[in-house]
Every structure is written in C-alpha cells, then in structure tokens.
Symmetry: C2
C-alpha cells in the first residue's frame, strides 16, 4: 500500500468564499458580481478559488443558490415550516418579509426571486432551483392554510392549495414592489389585504 504524504493545507475556508459569493450574488446579482469582487472580499486569489470550486463562476453561483436555500430560507420561513404551523406563522412570515424590505440590509430582497428574473430564462439549472423553492413555499403555505381552516382561523370556503399558490405569488410580488418602492404603507396594505381575503 502507498503512504500519502501531507500536502500543503488550505489557508482559507471554502465555506467563507461560498458565503461571500452568496452574499454578493444576493445583493448585486450574478452578472454584476465579478470574481475580482470575491477576491477583494475574501483575500483569496482567483487560482485558489478556481481550484476549490471546479466549474468556475457559474458553479459557484449554483452552489450559492443551494446554500441560500439551506441557510437563509429556513431562517426566513421560521416556524412556518413546522408541522403545526397555522395562520399566525403564515402571517409572521409576511410580516417578516415587510420588515426585511424596509430595513437597510433587507433591500436586497430574495436571492431566488432575483434569480428567477435574471437567470431563469437562460439557465435551466438555476430555474430548477427556483422552482424547487416555489414548490417548498407552496407546500408549507398549503399545510398552514389547511391547519388554519381546521382551526377556524380562515373561512371554510378557502381552498388551501389554491390560496397557497396565490400567496406564493403575493410574496414574490411583495418583493418586487419593495425593491422599487420600499414604502411601509404600501407593503403593509398589500399584506393586510391579502390576509383580509382569507378571514
């Protein structure tokens, strides 16, 4: 058998580069984010980035989408993904979105919404990740609406599946509106009316 010698160890954490990449893609978009941006942000040189992430910028982008899904999304969804979630958790999610859109750090919106607009038409893999996210939203919103109906928190005539599809679109639209016009009155009116329709 062959004995492996110790090679030179990495001087950076690939996760750090990936996190930085995710943040940059999130706030500036895919095309607007250059490798040079990541080099400046992390101090890691291009050669090292490319050897740590085979596939280059696009692979880094796709990995960023996955990381966003596993790191950021659960945090935003919060209890809405828990089995017992009902109307309060659903409402909490929308209120959180509004809060984010009105805060200086949250103006970047949602990486997956941005990706739907910027990349979905020309990048099938990116579009697939976005579709997976939309399905995830629809799934937990449907469950929450079904629970809410059982609890009498919404009208009996509410169809969980259909209303969830509408709410998914509503939260995507909320983020588009919030990006161009982060006005608290408008955003709160959108959420208020969306939920008024359920009660």
């Amino acid at each position: 058998m062959y004995v492996s010698r110790m090679p030179r160890p990495r001087e950076f954490e690939p996760d750090t580069v990936l996190n930085q990449a995710m943040l940059r893609f999130w706030e500036r978009g895919y095309r607007a984010t250059s490798i040079e941006d990541l080099v400046k942000a992390t101090g890691v040189k291009p050669g090292s980035i490319y050897s740590a992430f085979p596939g280059g910028k696009r692979a880094l982008f796709l990995k960023s989408l996955e990381r966003y899904s596993t790191l950021v999304v659960p945090q935003k969804l919060g209890e809405l993904e828990a089995p017992g979630a009902s109307l309060a958790e659903l409402r909490g999610y929308f209120d959180g979105l509004v809060r984010d859109l009105l805060s200086p750090e949250g103006r970047q919106g949602c990486l997956l919404v941005n990706t739907a607009i910027e990349n979905a038409a020309e990048d099938d893999e990116a579009a697939a990740v976005v579709r997976g996210h939309l399905a995830r939203l629809e799934r937990c919103m449907t469950a929450a609406l079904a629970n809410a109906r059982d609890l009498g928190q919404v009208r009996d005539s509410v169809d969980p599946g259909g209303s969830a599809k509408l709410l998914v679109a509503t939260c995507q639209g909320l983020m588009v509106v919030g990006k161009a016009n982060p006005d608290e009155t408008v955003l709160r009116a959108i959420v208020g009316n969306a939920f008024a329709a359920l009660a």
Copy 2:
C-alpha cells in the same frame, strides 16, 4: 443672420435603434445586452449610435424604459385604462398576462419588473420609472375596482385602494412565478383565487 448649409442626413432611423434596444433590454436585461448586440441587430455602427444617443448605453436604457411605458404598456393594459373600466377589464388584463407568460414570445415577462429586480437598487432614475409604472397600475386598478364596486361586481366591503395595491403585487408576483415556472394550471389558479377574493 447666418444661413445653415445642409449636413449629411442620417441613414438610419433612431427610433429603430431605440426599439431594438428596448426589445433586447426586455428579453435579456441591461447588463446582458451589449452595444455590439445592437450593432448586429440594426447594422448601425457604434459611433453612429453614440452620436444619436448622447449618454451612451445607460441613456439608451432609460429611453427604452420610457418607450416601453408609452408603447407596450398601454397595449397590455388595453381598456383597463379607459375611464369606464370595471371588473371585466381588470380580469382581462390578468388573463392577458397569463396568456403572454405561456406563449413563447411572452416569456420575457415585463421590462419594468425585470428592471425593478436588476437595476432599481443601483439606479435611482430607473427605479423612479418603475415606481411611476407601479403608480400607474395602482391608479387604474383602483378606478376599475371603484367602478366594479358601484356596479355590484365585487363585495361592498372591498376597499379599491387597498385591493388595488394587492393586485399590483399579485401581477408582479405572477410574472416572477411565470418566469421560473410557466405552468398554466398554477398561473390560472393564482388569477382565479385573486379574483375569487373580490367577489
């Protein structure tokens, strides 16, 4: 007084270049559209483009947004902007959106939604045009809802202003969803549920 001699006349129609620019920005976005693209599409050389459109690519983009607003938007809104519009025109607008999103040519969505996502955060003038468009949508939807309420086409409890804000967000969201997942069932469910909430 001075007599002006006749200079060499233009060999191209600036409107043609502007229309092409609008179409390219619409389907591929601002960054992804290069001057070279426009040169290939129109046969007009860079020098001529730059002399016809002072301000370069960005000015051309802003002019494209204006052109989209005056040329494409009225066509999409159709009768919804007419004073007497009510529920039918409102519904017609949403049905038209769905039809567009499902057709091969319509997958590009809406230039102003795309701009909200790609440019609004970093370009105040572009964001202002988007805000103007959102205000325009809200205005005619509010009017249509007020008419619809007077005609008994929607519940008396419907607040035209608030519901219009929600519908504006809904149609933005419709375009995000449609771009990632152009599925007729989903899009029709969104529109159906949005209008069911008004009746």
